[in-house]
């Protein structure tokens, strides 16, 4: 199947699900779908920088926060509609990502990891302390998103919109995957020296990876404003980063299918655990750590890696 058809098919399926499911399922499930779709956008963005390009960039949640606050504030303060505000906020995230990436990608791995992590913490601190803009620790109550004159007030209305955004994101990702830039990402990950000798501008490629991933995180932030009505800086923290990272690793980094599997598995797992005896819930954190550890030890390519290996043998 050609790339264009593949993209079209994914788009049609997602849009169809986005239109049909809200009519069939209780809002709770629609909320879960919305949440998972948002996680997927976040996870794909993180995978582009970590799984594709092999760069430790831990600033993802900061860009997600910029996407949320950017979209919400543009709408609330300046009346910018979502259709314009969300891309603007995502571009702002990408711009800041670029400014971070230029000095950070010169650094050795450990420094890249720490400087991006430090940046994320600084950003969280700014969200918390810049009260005149973000309302700080009180949290920001967001007015419902307006899309072409329709107010989006609940999950069912948000779902088709999010599905379309996700379809666009996936289509763009597939395009990127088959582009020279996409191939360069993998080349840089596998061997920087050989990449350099083959004419790949390694530094620029890394900067691109970080910038693009920041854009994705910004889009995810914009999506957040579609189906949530309140943001507190406390909710943008390392726990979320670790969750997204686990999704990427457990599902299978470096592949769209793997990341999707990871998002679904780890996103649905807590819902499955709801059925477990309440006293056992407290083991959750340990179990998550264990799953992550086992995945990275026994199948560095995640669940998808196991699957595709089995397929290769038969």
């Amino acid at each position: 199947m050609s790339l264009g058809r593949q993209q079209l098919l994914i788009g049609v399926i997602l849009l169809a699900l986005g239109l049909i499911l809200p009519a069939l399922l209780p809002e709770y499930f629609i909320y879960l779908f919305n949440l998972l779709m948002m996680y997927l956008i976040l996870a794909i963005g993180l995978d582009i920088v970590m799984g594709w390009s092999g760069q430790f960039a831990f600033a993802h949640i900061a860009f997600y926060g910029i996407g949320i606050y950017g979209t919400a504030l543009l709408h609330m303060r300046l009346g910018v509609p979502f259709i314009v505000g969300m891309p603007l906020a995502a571009l702002l995230a990408a711009l800041i990502g670029y400014l971070i990436a230029v000095p950070a990608t010169k650094l050795r791995t450990v420094y890249l990891a720490l400087s991006t992590f430090a940046f994320a913490q600084c950003a969280a601190w700014v969200f918390r302390t810049w009260e005149s803009l973000t309302k700080g620790p009180d949290g920001l109550r967001m007015t419902p998103t307006n899309l072409f004159g329709f107010e989006i007030v609940n999950d069912s209305q948000a779902m088709p919109v999010i599905a379309v955004i996700l379809a666009l994101v996936i289509a763009a990702t597939l395009n990127l995957l088959h582009s020279k830039l996409g191939r360069d990402f993998f080349a840089v990950r596998d061997n920087e020296n050989v990449a350099l000798a083959s004419g790949v501008d390694v530094k620029a490629t890394k900067v691109w990876a970080l910038t693009i991933s920041a854009f994705y995180a910004g889009v995810a932030g914009g999506v957040y404003t579609l189906f949530q009505s309140y943001i507190n800086p406390d909710n943008i923290d390392v726990t979320l980063l670790v969750l997204i990272l686990s999704m990427v690793v457990v599902g299978g980094s470096g592949s769209l299918a793997g990341v999707s599997i990871g998002v679904v598995v780890l996103g649905v797992l807590p819902e499955v655990l709801r059925a477990a005896p309440k006293g056992l819930l407290i083991w959750q954190e340990f179990v998550y750590g264990l799953i992550l550890m086992l995945a990275i030890i026994f199948s560095p390519k995640g669940i998808w890696g196991l699957f595709s290996r089995a397929k290769g043998k038969s």
Partner: protein, 256 residues
């Protein structure tokens, strides 16, 4: 014959260690120039200087009259210099085919990821053809969809070759291409390198310990020891140079 690459007084120090000391070297267009010398003589350092991984503290390096010092590492391949690596190194998780495509990429237009799929297909068609030629020539076409890391040692070295050749370089820098290869493979290398020079007019700078290959194909040989040039000339002349024998060949000959 004209001089393709010219080095003058190249000096490279690491802290207190002098890896290259005022080295002069000319490579003629359309020739195979071998660089030999004991381990630690500075051969690989020179290659890394040429591919701009290192910047020498002193000296000049000019390729076709242009200074290499103005280029960044990733730009070297665009002016026509390509290299292989001593240890097997490639993009282990990319397929064999993709490895060659990365090697080709300096010749491709920078692809705009926002173009629709069909336009890209056209851009890539020419690249694909060239990649196929190279892979077929080096007997790797059958493995094109395997991850590069899963090939055996000899084929990985060939793949490194294929990647370096993909950019159609004028000057090919080879860092011990024959190391670890079996005799049959070395014979293939011998004829293949000759063909590159004869049919495509390529020039080659060859670092090699396998003397049988060096002596067979080199037009000129330069011998390095402790970062300095101790001999230079035709294979026959170098072979009989007492300084070379003392520094390097003597042991090597006995060993062989």
């Amino acid at each position: 014959m004209s001089v393709l690459l010219s080095l003058k007084g190249v000096t490279m120090r690491f802290g207190g260690l002098v890896a290259l000391n005022g080295l002069d070297l000319d490579i003629q267009a359309g020739s195979i120039h071998a660089l030999i010398g004991p381990n630690g003589a500075g051969k690989s350092t020179l290659l890394n200087c040429l591919s701009r991984f290192f910047t020498p503290q002193e000296g000049s390096m000019s390729f076709k009259g242009e200074s290499l010092l103005n280029l960044q590492a990733h730009e070297v391949v665009k002016v026509g210099i390509s290299r292989t690596f001593q240890n097997i190194e490639q993009f282990a998780q990319l397929s064999v085919y993709e490895n060659v495509l990365v090697g080709l990429s300096s010749k491709e237009e920078r692809y705009n990821p926002f173009l629709p799929g069909r336009v890209r297909a056209h851009v890539q068609a020419q690249s694909a053809e060239h990649a196929q030629e190279i892979l077929q020539e080096l007997d790797l076409w059958a493995f094109r969809d395997q991850p590069a890391g899963s090939l055996d040692f000899g084929r990985q070295k060939m793949l490194d070759f294929a990647r370096a050749l993909a950019s159609r370089p004028q000057l090919l820098l080879l860092d011990e291409p024959a190391a670890g290869l079996r005799n049959r493979e070395i014979e293939f290398l011998d004829s293949f390198l000759r063909r590159l020079v004869k049919e495509q007019g390529m020039s080659i700078l060859l670092i090699e310990h396998v003397m049988q290959l060096v002596m067979a194909i080199a037009d000129e040989i330069t011998v390095l020891n402790f970062g300095e040039k101790i001999a230079h000339g035709l294979p026959r002349e170098v072979q009989s140079n007492p300084m070379v024998i003392e520094a390097y060949l003597g042991k090597e000959v006995e060993h062989a």
